[in-house]
């Protein structure tokens, strides 16, 4: 698959730095699961993190701290709880483990040709995550009240301001964007969307419903 649209360098670096919120992290991880180019950059940014860690001025650990850890070295290693992936999202292609582990709601019809399916982010996140499925030929008029919107195309494709977004592509919308993407003929377009803003879920469905118009 040829990927033409990527998250910004700053976003990829924030992913490597671990400073994204949980919802944003899912969107970037989704892109990374199919984009070798961005993975390589994140990889480099982890080296940057390592170099900077190495160069940080040390802060003294308390006396006895090493001894404490030494005593724990022989503890059985597996306090680790392996969280089994939820199977809710098994039918959706192109999702990374980080997302596949999550529970998801059911597909809900919100407008002709358009369904959404919430993904349950397992902790408080200012960014909400959901799947959006639009039938071929649908014009998705999305007027958004959000600060930021990240869209990862999983299947199908849409055109937005003359630019085509296909599987693997990453589309970023900001507040003043006037979104009117048109879904390409062929297959359903399924996207993972991470959206930050003031919209509560019920409100979101309501808000989404209104602006979706079928051509």
């Amino acid at each position: 698959m040829t990927i033409h649209h990527h998250p910004s360098d700053v976003m990829l670096a924030a992913f490597a730095a671990g400073t994204l919120d949980p919802g944003e992290r899912m969107a970037i991880a989704t892109h990374l699961s199919t984009c070798a180019r961005c993975r390589a950059f994140v990889d480099d940014m982890e080296y940057v993190g390592g170099v900077m860690l190495d160069d940080l001025p040390p802060a003294a650990m308390p006396a006895g701290s090493l001894a404490e850890v030494m005593e724990r070295l022989d503890e059985p290693a597996s306090r680790t709880i392996q969280v089994a992936p939820s199977s809710d999202l098994d039918d959706v292609p192109g999702l990374p483990d980080l997302v596949r582990r999550c529970r998801a709601g059911d597909w809900k019809w919100i407008a002709p040709g358009v369904h959404v399916r919430p993904i349950i982010v397992p902790e408080d996140s200012p960014t909400r995550v959901f799947l959006l499925k639009a039938a071929p030929g649908t014009r998705v008029m999305q007027h958004s009240h959000t600060d930021l919107e990240m869209t990862c195309v999983l299947t199908g494709a849409y055109t937005h301001d003359g630019t085509r977004y296909g599987p693997g592509d990453f589309d970023i919308g900001e507040e003043d964007d006037d979104h009117k993407p048109l879904v390409e003929q062929g297959e359903d377009c399924i996207c993972l969307v991470a959206m930050r803003g003031d919209i509560r879920l019920s409100g979101l469905l309501g808000q989404l419903m209104q602006p979706f118009v079928r051509m």
Partner: protein, 192 residues
């Protein structure tokens, strides 16, 4: 040479110490790793807004993970500092999650969950080479660019707060960060 003028050969000995831990549970090697990295992880956590006690806890847990996961460390695909950095970073994400969810689970319980979708090994250059390349690229950034990248990596601050700290407008922080990252990408590309 890195940004502070240290020789780049610094990296390899840490790799050998991790291998010694993996191969022969070498406690002296572990102690040497601890002495170097634990105080730096502590600084990282303090700058991320942790209090002293949790910064020390994360530093200890990070080193414990280094001990337990040493066998998973592949010196041909990861540099020691980058590897330890990602462990500490994941524990930090984990600690923040526990804060948000009020989870009673202990720090370190969920490390497996936090691992990111790691790069395919074949997309990496040899680790030492990667680290040298990154150091060489960073050495060409201005102090101001290093500073803004460092702030975005290590300080849990909104760009607005960074702006205040640097006494420049918010837009300036964003554009400085964007420019610094763009420059870094170009330099890394030229060096690969």
């Amino acid at each position: 040479m890195n940004a502070n003028g240290k020789p780049v050969e610094d990296a390899a000995p840490w790799n050998r110490l991790i291998e010694a831990v993996a191969v022969s549970q070498d406690r002296e090697a572990f102690a040497a790793l601890f002495e170097h990295f634990a105080p730096r992880v502590k600084t990282y956590m303090l700058r991320s807004g942790a209090n002293n006690a949790s910064a020390e806890e994360v530093a200890q847990e990070t080193m414990l993970s280094v001990w337990r996961k040493a066998a998973l460390f592949d010196p041909s695909s990861a540099g020691a500092a980058a590897w330890i950095y990602t462990i500490a970073r994941n524990l930090r994400i984990d600690a923040m999650r526990r804060e948000r969810t009020g989870s009673a689970r202990e720090l370190g319980d969920e490390i497996e969950e936090t691992v990111d979708d790691s790069p395919a090994p074949d997309s990496r250059l040899a680790a030492v080479q990667s680290e040298q390349r990154v150091r060489a690229a960073m050495a060409q950034l201005s102090d101001e660019q290093i500073r803004v990248i460092e702030l975005s990596f290590f300080e849990e601050k909104a760009h607005a707060e960074i702006a205040e700290q640097l006494k420049v407008p918010l837009g300036t922080v964003k554009s400085r960060l964007r420019l610094a990252m763009g420059r870094l990408r170009t330099l890394l590309g030229d060096l690969s």
